[in-house]
Structures are given as structure tokens and as C-alpha cells.
């Protein structure tokens, strides 16, 4: 480590390589996409795990530089190790205490009490940082983010202000620790006395005298005496008397507060805040992994290429299904040049919308550096994720709806580039089949012209047959019982008839069945 004379400490972040990596806040299209993909729910899920931190900016803003993504993936890789995560969890728990003590150091009434909270906060800080530095060194973390943090903290630890802080903290704490006093409680009040050195412990004496009646087995616990949550007025008065009995010690405490008004390094606070994103996401993923669902670190590229997604699933639906005792069905998509349009057709409620949403989630999660649902994922970081999902509440006015759809499509088409991901779900559902067919074809042509990677979920089978740039995925049914949906999508020409035939069979409405009935 160089020992340059006091340069401004570099901004150390585990989220960004530099401040320039920080993406702008989401615009209207981004927010609509987050909602369509149910990623607003992920924000909620993670916020519930870390209520005192605002994780929204990190979760909602996509990175577009693959190395910025790699920077986070490295941190995820480190934190995916139990030993590293334990060390960081310990540090965060200490920081939680630190913040609580700091607020008590401001809010409490009695000056001696306030100062003692300040001292406790200082102690927690010194211990937490010292321990974290030791842990990071022993654990040999690999990520740039944690390595840099480690370097910064090592420097901090060696700095003379920190060393003074640590020494002062220990000295004053030790002095307070030696204070012993005695209270004489009578119904009229309390007398506060010096400890006179009488070591007769009445409780211990009782235990000895009545040893014959103290069974070895664990007793039923007696109720714990009531204790006010915070120091009472009477206790504050007692503390004043104790301070009078021990003037030097309490003067030292006062001096400590004056000497170290704000001891916490900003980078330490920032790390505690930023690392919550990783911890909260890993916690969420851990419950799904325990259920045997696969997660992987996606391979992200900048250069346009053909995506590979194996066995991916909807992150938020998976959570719900597991609580209901079910499991999500994994779906795969693998495109080869020149395939850019994916048209999804097939059985109603067959998992089409879920597939579209899954795809969008995987792209978004990969873009914020997270491990993604699936066995293997390779994708190009999109410049935009643009979505349009049909919603029941938008169906109220049919004409208005079609107009809205087209206006929205215009904005999307104006925004989309060859690097964009566009997901369109049941577009033009409100109009006639002929309209939906004609308009759908036009939109697909435009998107093909732009070159955006497009997922188009529709009930119009004809749209699936376009040419070499288009892939047809069909939501399938169970071959042994065609009325059972598998939620699995297959790459094959859209026919839509297998499912219809199955339903006809079940209801006795096939040609043969109807003929046979009418013959008799």
C-alpha cells in the first residue's frame, strides 16, 4: 500500500467500478417493463428482507457494460461462499447495532447515558472493521469489489486517527467496566454507595445452604423481573450519583465524545448499505435452490449474438408455487443466427405469458449482475427492455384499447434498436382476428427490420410462420392426456389443433363421435 500524504479516499463501491457505471433512473418505458415482468414484486420481496435499506435503485437500474456486470458477478461469487457470507452477515449485524447506538447517543435524556451509547457505538465500529479486515484477508476474496474494500479498510485500520480511536475506546470502556457501586433499596428511596468490598453473595449462599433441595434437572424458569425498555428517571438519578462517586471516569467519557464526534468512515457505511442488495438476493435465491431449482451465473456479452437459455423459470412464480407445494416447469430457448423473432402460440393457460415474463426477467436480472434462474444462460446485454402486456383493466374500451396498443407500439418501435429486447404479450387482443393478423404481421416486420430480439405471444397461429428469422414455440399438452397442460413450450410449427382435438375427444365432439351418435 502506498502512503501518499492524505489523498481523498477513493470512492469504494461494491456495486460500481466507478461512479460512471451508475445507470440513470428508469423512465416510463422502463417502469412499465418492470411492472409487466413482475419485477416490481422482486423489489418488494427484497425490501421485505432488508426493510431498513432502499434497494430499489440497484434492483431496477440495468447495467449495459458487460464488465460492470462482471464486477457484480464477482462479488456474488464471493458472497455465495458460506464463509464469506457469514463474515459479511456478522459485519452487517454489527452495523445494525452501531446505528441503533448512534441514535440512542442522540435521543436519550441523561448526558452520561448518551455518552455511553456514543462509546458503545465506537466500540462496535472498531470491532466490526477490525474483524472484517481480518476475515477478508483470511478468506482470500477474489472479486474486485471486495478486494478494493479490503485494501481501503487495511489503510483505514493503519491510519493514526483510527488507532487513536481504538485506543481511546478501549481505555474509557475499561475504566467504566471497573466501576462498582452498591444500592441500598428501602421503601422510601435509594442510597448510592461505594462498593465496600463485601463479597458475600446472598444468592450463592442460599444455593449452598439449600443444596439438598436444588435438583439437578433444569427448573421451570421463574418469570424474569420486569425491566423498563429504557433507563428510567430513577435510574438516571442513580447514574448521576455514580458519576459523582467516580468523577475521573466520567470525565474521561465526556472527553471521548469530544475527541471522536463522528468516527465512522463513509466507505464503511456505504459498504454496509450496498452489500444488502447481494445478501437479500442470495437469501431469496437460497430458498429456491434448497427446493432443487437451478440458478446460474449468466454469460453476458456486448456483441450481438444468439441467446441460449436452458431450464429457466419465473423467479417470482416459483416462490408462489413452492409455497403451494408445486414446482415451476423449466423452459429453454436457443436461437441461432438469423433467428430474432420468437412467436409463442398454443394452449390457453399453457404457460405462454409466464415464458415471456421469464425471458424478460432473466435479461433484467442478468443486466443487474445477479445469478439467474436456469442451468445455463448466455445473452447479449440489451440496451432496452421494452414490453407490452395485455391487461384486463385495459380492455374496458375496445376502441380506446386498440388505439392505446398502437400508440404504445409506436413509442416502442421508435425506441427499440438491434440491441433491444422487446416482449409483446397478446397484443391486439381486443380487435378482430383479421385485424390482429394484419397488424401483428406489420409489427413483426417492423421489429424484424430494426433487428430487435422479439418475443411475441399471440393466439394467431399464422404469425408463427414467417421465415428464417422467426422461431415458433408452442405451449404443449401432455400426450397421454391432451387435456393436461404441461406448461412446457416446444419448438415446432404452430398448429393449435392437437389441443382442440383433445378437447373435442373429451367432450365427445369429434367427427366420429358426432356421426356415431346421430347414426342411432
Amino acid at each position: 500500500m502506498s502512503s501518499d500524504p492524505a489523498p481523498a479516499p477513493p470512492a469504494i463501491s461494491v456495486l460500481f467500478r466507478t461512479a460512471a457505471d451508475e445507470p440513470p433512473p428508469p423512465d416510463g418505458l422502463d417502469r412499465a417493463a418492470l411492472e409487466d415482468l413482475n419485477l416490481d414484486q422482486l423489489v418488494g420481496v427484497l425490501a421485505r428482507r432488508r426493510p431498513s435499506y432502499d434497494l430499489t435503485p440497484t434492483v431496477t437500474r440495468r447495467l449495459t457494460d458487460p464488465d460492470a456486470v462482471a464486477y457484480r458477478q464477482e462479488v456474488f461469487r464471493d458472497l455465495d461462499r458460506d464463509d464469506v457470507r457469514d463474515a459479511v452477515d456478522r459485519f452487517c449485524a454489527a452495523m445494525l447495532r452501531l446505528r441503533r447506538f448512534r441514535s440512542l447517543a442522540v435521543s436519550r435524556q441523561a448526558p452520561a447515558e448518551r455518552r455511553s451509547w456514543h462509546l458503545h457505538a465506537g466500540r462496535v465500529y472498531v470491532e466490526a472493521v477490525t474483524r472484517l479486515v481480518g476475515d477478508l484477508a483470511a478468506l482470500e476474496v477474489r472479486s474486485r469489489g471486495l478486494t478494493r474494500l479490503h485494501g481501503h479498510l487495511e489503510q483505514l485500520l493503519a491510519s493514526s486517527p483510527f488507532r487513536t480511536l481504538a485506543a481511546d475506546t478501549e481505555r474509557v470502556h475499561a475504566a467504566l467496566g471497573t466501576v462498582r457501586y452498591r444500592l441500598h433499596l428501602v421503601p422510601q428511596g435509594v442510597e448510592v454507595l461505594h462498593d465496600d468490598g463485601d463479597e458475600t453473595d446472598l444468592t450463592a449462599a442460599l444455593a449452598t445452604t439449600f443444596a439438598a433441595f436444588l435438583p439437578d434437572e433444569l427448573p421451570v424458569p421463574n418469570p424474569e423481573p420486569r425491566r423498563a425498555a429504557a433507563m428510567t428517571h430513577l435510574e438516571a438519578q442513580i447514574l448521576d450519583r455514580v458519576a459523582e462517586l467516580e468523577p475521573e471516569t466520567f470525565a474521561a467519557l465526556e472527553g471521548y465524545v469530544d475527541d471522536h464526534p463522528d468516527p465512522v468512515d463513509p466507505a464503511v457505511l456505504a459498504f454496509d448499505r450496498d452489500v444488502q442488495f447481494y445478501l437479500a438476493y442470495l437469501e431469496h435465491v437460497a430458498t429456491l435452490r434448497r427446493a432443487g431449482l437451478p440458478f446460474c451465473e449468466p454469460i453476458v456479452t456486448r456483441a450481438a449474438g444468439s441467446p441460449v437459455l436452458r431450464e429457466t423459470f419465473d423467479l417470482l412464480l416459483a416462490d408462489k408455487l413452492l409455497t403451494e407445494g408445486a414446482r415451476p416447469v423449466g423452459n429453454s430457448l436457443e436461437l441461432a443466427d438469423p433467428e430474432r423473432l420468437v412467436v409463442v402460440t398454443g394452449a390457453n393457460q399453457g404457460g405462454k405469458t409466464t415464458f415471456a415474463r421469464t425471458l424478460g426477467q432473466v435479461y433484467h436480472l442478468a443486466s443487474i449482475g445477479c445469478p439467474v434462474p436456469g442451468r445455463e444462460v448466455r445473452l447479449t446485454l440489451p440496451d432496452r427492455v421494452l414490453t407490452h402486456f395485455a391487461r384486463e383493466e385495459r380492455l374496458a374500451d375496445r376502441h380506446g384499447r386498440l388505439q392505446d396498443d398502437l400508440l404504445r407500439m409506436r413509442v416502442i418501435l421508435q425506441t427499440a434498436s438491434a440491441d433491444s429486447l422487446v416482449i409483446l404479450n397478446e397484443l391486439f387482443r381486443s380487435t378482430t382476428i383479421v385485424d390482429a393478423q394484419v397488424l401483428g404481421r406489420r409489427i413483426l416486420d417492423r421489429l424484424a427490420g430494426v433487428g430487435a430480439l422479439t418475443v411475441y405471444v399471440t393466439f394467431i397461429d399464422e404469425l408463427a410462420a414467417r421465415g428464417p428469422d422467426t422461431v415458433s414455440l408452442v405451449a404443449t399438452v401432455d400426450p397421454s392426456d391432451p387435456a393436461l397442460r404441461t406448461f412446457r413450450l416446444e419448438r415446432r410449427p404452430a398448429d393449435g389443433r392437437a389441443h382442440a382435438a383433445a378437447l373435442a375427444e373429451r367432450h365427445g365432439l369429434t367427427y366420429e363421435a358426432i356421426r356415431a351418435r346421430h347414426r342411432t
Binding site: L104, R108, A110, A112, E113, S116, H120, L176, G177, V179, R180, Y181, R182, L183, H184, L185, V186, P187, Q188, G189, V190, E191, V192, L193, D196, D198, T200, D201, L202, T203, A205, L206, A207, T209, F210, A212, F213, L214, P215, P219, V220, P221, N222, P223, E224, P225, R226, R227, A228, M231, T232, H233, L234, E235, Q237, I238, L239, R241, V242, L245
Partner: protein
């Protein structure tokens, strides 16, 4: 400090569950008559006796442990009765203090102090009695208890108890030492023996100039409450100790009263049985793999208590055979015999004497009874169904080492069917390692078993004299093809029947059963 009069390592636990078939045992064996004979109106003794008889011991060492106490009791009946009365009196006095829930350390301490003050005198009386008899008793249980009472509660020990109890009244207030904990609140509160500088009380009463004295404003509920809380915290640990101590004193007295109650009950039963002139003996438990049921003059103590006279005893010599089949005349004493076997088995495994001249039996893991009931019911198929269901319920619980007593099982169908059913079931059970005593008039069944395996079955039959009168005595010998219903017919109609052709001809040439006296 536990009396341990029933078990060397365990306390009597009336909450310990009795076997799931306790209800059937009570009903089928007439156990409550025996219990009433022991209790003589004392509800605690009744409860202890019933519980002890139902929760059988299986370890011969523990059976011997109780038998030894019972021998002491028979040698010194008044000693046991005096101890029992002493424990009862002490318990009544102290329970009087103990009622109601207490929730805070101060009241726990107050109650403990009162209990101990009362207990001191009771402990002194118990000790005096123990010291006087410690060299008279022979049983390990009473020797240990008396030695402990004599040594643990000598005068110096009781004086120390008294001194501590007086201190717990805190006439001079409560003195506690403390350190500064988190936020400078008092921590590590240690209760000290007594005020170090005389009664501060006096100095507090007049307005004090001393800065170390805090007087509570009478009008301030907040301060008063804070002072109370502080006092409760100071007393917390002592209350935990003394709460356990007073609980334990009470537990000791309760157990002493209950466990002595069992032996006092045995003494009462002994007197009532002996008064008829019938024999009573200490049984011999066997844990050999070889099944044993050998008894001389075995009789039903319940019947003896009900009639108040001497009842007929029977001999049985099932040595090395797992199955005892009892056949013969109706009203010939078969059911009584079965009850006498069941009661003797339970009394053996409760560690008390049995109603017999001698008794040696294999210790049973569990005892089951299957008894035909409701003899007037006309719904025969329903009855057989119910019987089979009951047998199935028993069969689900049966394991090797159990003893099954059957009384006219499967008599609710015709003899052929009932015999076939019973034959299969009995054979299956016996071959699974269950001992069975089966009382039946089903000749087919008895004959089949006799043909099968005469060497593994002990056959007994109800005696009928040449003139057709019954002796209620069972004789060893193979089954005879009539249940002597005609005797009954003859006695009622007074006409001369056919010549006797069913006199036992075969004797017991196979040597599996006999009339041999079975002194053990």
C-alpha cells in the same frame, strides 16, 4: 432430595400415562375391588395403587426393591403409617401457603420463606423418626432415605436454614451491588448479605442532605414503580433459587406421601386378606426365556374382598409352556381363575405380594385381556365383528413377551367357526412369543390344540365330581368333550342322566401339565 421408595432411580409420576388398555384391565380383572381394599377410603392411596398396579415393572431388580420395602413395612407397620401421616400433615400445611400463582421475584421469595419456615419443623420430625429407625430397616430404599434425612438435616443444618430464611425477610432493606452495563444501566446485580453501615432507613426518614441519597417522591408513581422494578431485579436470582427450593420441598413431601401411600395400602390389603386365613406370598419374578406360570393356591383377591371369606385356590404348573388352556364346566371357576392369574401378574409386577401360597411367573412386557361380553345380545354377526375388531386392536399392540388373557373369546359364533378362528389366532400369537392363558368352553378348540402340540400347552379343566357338583377347583388334564351343561340341567331337573363316560382316562402321561405343588 427425593424419597425413591418405589424405584431406585425414578420418582412416582402419576401423570405418566397408564397402558392404553388400562380401562379393559380394570374392568376385566375387577382391579378396582383390589384398589378399594388397599385404599380403605383414602383417595390418594387409591390413585397411587391404581397407577402402580397398571404401570407394571419389568425389571426384577426393581420388583425386589419394592418387595424389600414391603418386608420392612410388614415388620414395622406403625413406622410406615406414622411417616405417612407426618408427610400428609406437612403437605396440607404447606399447600395452604402455596395456592395461587405468583408472578414476581418478591412474592416468590415471600412464599418460599413461609413454606420453609413451616417445613423446618416437619423436617425435624422426619429426621428424628429416621434417626431412630435407620438401623432397624433392611431395605435399600428406606435405609437410604433415613440416612439422608438423618445426615442432611442435623441441628446445625436446620439452624443454617433458619438463619437464611430470616435474612430473606429483608427487614433492613435490600442491598445489591452493581456494575455499569450497556448504556450505563445497572448490570450484574448481586444481592448482598446485609446493609454495610447500619440501618440506612433511619438516615433516610428525615430529609437527608446527603447527595448520595435519592428520596422517592410519594406522589410520583413513575419513580415508585421504578424503585419496585429495581428491587425485583435485585431479588431476581435469589427468587429463582428459593422458588426452586420451595418447589422441591413440596415435591419431596408430595412424593413421600404418595409413595408411602402405596405401602400403607399394601399393609391394609395384607390385613384384609390374612383375616380370611388365605395365604399371601412374595412372588418370584422370572425373566428366563423359558415361559413360566407356576402357582399354588392361587386365588382371586378381589373375590375374597367382595365375599369377605376364604375362596378356593388353584394350582397351576405351566413350567416351560407358553399356553395355558382352561376348559370345562360352566360356572366351574374358570373366569375366577383367569382373574386370579391376571391380578397376580399385575401384583407381581407392582412389587407387592400376591394372593397365593406361592407364585412364580415370567415377567410380562404388557398384559392384555380379551373377554367376551354382552352374553345376551342377539346380533351375533355384529358381535363377532366387534370381537374381531377388538382382537385386531389388541393384535396391533401385541409383541413378544406380552401376556394375553382370553375369556371365552369367539364364543359369539358357532363352536366350529369360533374354534377355527381362535385356533389360528392363538397359534399365531404363541408362535410369535406371546404367552396366552385361554379360558373356553370351545371343545373343538381345546382338542385341536391338544392334537397340535400337547407338549407346549398346559391343559386345565374345571372339576366336576362324580355326583356332578362343582368344586370350583381346576384339575390338570386334557380337554373333555362336554362343558357339563347337562350337570346344570340335571341339577335343575333332578333326573338321572347318562352314565359318566367322560372321566379323564388319559391322565397327564405327556407330562406337560400336572398337579404338582409348585413351591418356588
Amino acid at each position: 432430595m427425593r424419597p425413591r421408595l418405589l424405584h431406585p432411580d425414578e420418582d412416582l409420576d402419576l401423570d405418566h400415562p397408564v397402558p392404553s388398555n388400562a380401562h379393559e384391565l380394570l374392568r376385566d380383572l375387577g382391579l378396582d375391588d383390589l384398589v378399594a381394599g388397599m385404599a380403605a377410603g383414602d383417595t390418594t392411596i387409591a390413585e397411587v395403587a391404581r397407577h402402580t398396579l397398571l404401570t407394571s415393572l419389568t425389571d426384577p431388580a426393581v420388583i425386589g426393591y419394592r418387595q424389600a420395602v414391603l418386608r420392612d413395612a410388614l415388620a414395622h407397620p406403625e413406622l410406615l403409617r406414622t411417616l405417612h401421616r407426618l408427610a400428609e400433615g406437612a403437605l396440607l400445611r404447606e399447600q395452604h401457603v402455596y395456592h395461587g400463582l405468583v408472578s414476581n421475584p418478591g412474592s416468590v421469595l415471600k412464599r418460599a420463606t413461609e413454606v420453609l419456615e413451616l417445613a423446618l419443623e416437619d423436617l425435624r420430625r422426619l429426621r428424628d423418626l429416621a434417626a431412630r429407625y435407620v438401623d432397624e430397616v433392611r431395605s435399600p430404599a428406606l435405609t437410604a432415605l433415613f440416612t439422608t434425612l438423618r445426615d442432611q438435616f442435623d441441628e446445625p443444618a436446620l439452624a443454617a436454614f433458619d438463619a437464611q430464611v430470616q435474612q430473606l425477610r429483608f427487614r433492613d432493606g435490600v442491598v445489591v451491588s452493581a456494575r455499569l452495563g450497556l448504556g450505563c444501566r445497572a448490570t450484574d446485580l448481586v444481592l448482598r448479605a446485609r446493609p454495610s453501615r447500619g440501618p440506612v432507613l433511619r438516615r433516610l426518614l428525615p430529609p437527608s442532605r446527603s447527595s448520595t441519597v435519592i428520596r422517592i417522591d410519594d406522589a410520583s408513581d413513575v419513580d415508585r414503580r421504578a424503585l419496585t422494578d429495581l428491587r425485583e431485579q435485585a431479588l431476581g436470582d435469589a427468587a429463582k433459587v428459593m422458588g426452586r427450593v420451595s418447589d422441591e420441598v413440596l415435591r419431596f413431601l408430595t412424593l413421600l406421601h404418595q409413595e408411602l401411600g402405596f405401602y400403607v395400602g399394601c399393609l391394609a390389603l395384607y390385613d384384609r386378606l390374612r383375616v380370611t386365613g388365605a395365604p399371601v406370598c412374595f412372588p418370584d419374578p422370572s425373566t428366563d426365556a423359558r415361559p413360566v406360570l407356576v402357582a399354588r393356591e392361587l386365588y382371586d383377591p378381589g373375590l375374597s374382598l367382595r365375599t369377605g371369606g376364604r375362596v378356593v385356590g388353584n394350582d397351576v404348573a405351566a413350567d416351560g409352556v407358553p399356553l395355558v388352556m382352561v376348559t370345562g364346566a360352566n360356572q366351574g371357576g374358570k373366569s375366577t381363575f383367569l382373574r386370579s392369574v391376571g391380578l397376580a401378574q399385575l401384583m407381581l409386577q407392582a412389587g407387592t405380594f400376591v394372593a397365593a401360597g406361592s407364585f412364580r411367573a415370567t415377567v410380562a412386557t404388557r398384559l392384555f385381556t380379551h373377554v367376551e361380553r354382552d352374553e345376551d345380545t342377539t346380533l351375533r354377526s355384529g358381535r363377532l365383528d366387534a370381537e374381531l375388531r377388538e382382537m385386531r386392536a389388541i393384535d396391533d399392540q401385541l409383541a413378544p413377551g406380552d401376556l394375553l388373557l382370553c375369556n371365552e373369546s369367539f364364543s359369539s359364533t358357532n363352536e366350529r367357526e369360533g374354534s377355527l378362528l381362535a385356533h389360528a389366532i392363538v397359534r399365531a400369537h404363541v408362535e410369535s412369543g406371546v404367552r396366552v392363558v385361554y379360558v373356553t368352553h370351545l371343545f373343538d378348540l381345546a382338542r385341536a390344540l391338544h392334537e397340535d402340540a400337547p407338549a407346549t400347552t398346559c391343559f386345565l379343566r374345571a372339576e366336576r365330581r362324580e355326583d356332578g357338583t362343582r368344586t370350583f377347583k381346576l384339575l390338570a388334564g386334557p380337554p373333555l368333550p362336554t362343558s357339563f351343561g347337562e350337570d346344570l340341567y340335571r341339577r335343575i331337573f333332578g333326573e338321572d342322566g347318562e352314565p359318566d363316560r367322560d372321566r379323564d382316562g388319559g391322565g397327564d402321561g405327556d407330562g406337560t401339565a400336572g398337579l404338582r405343588s409348585s413351591a418356588t
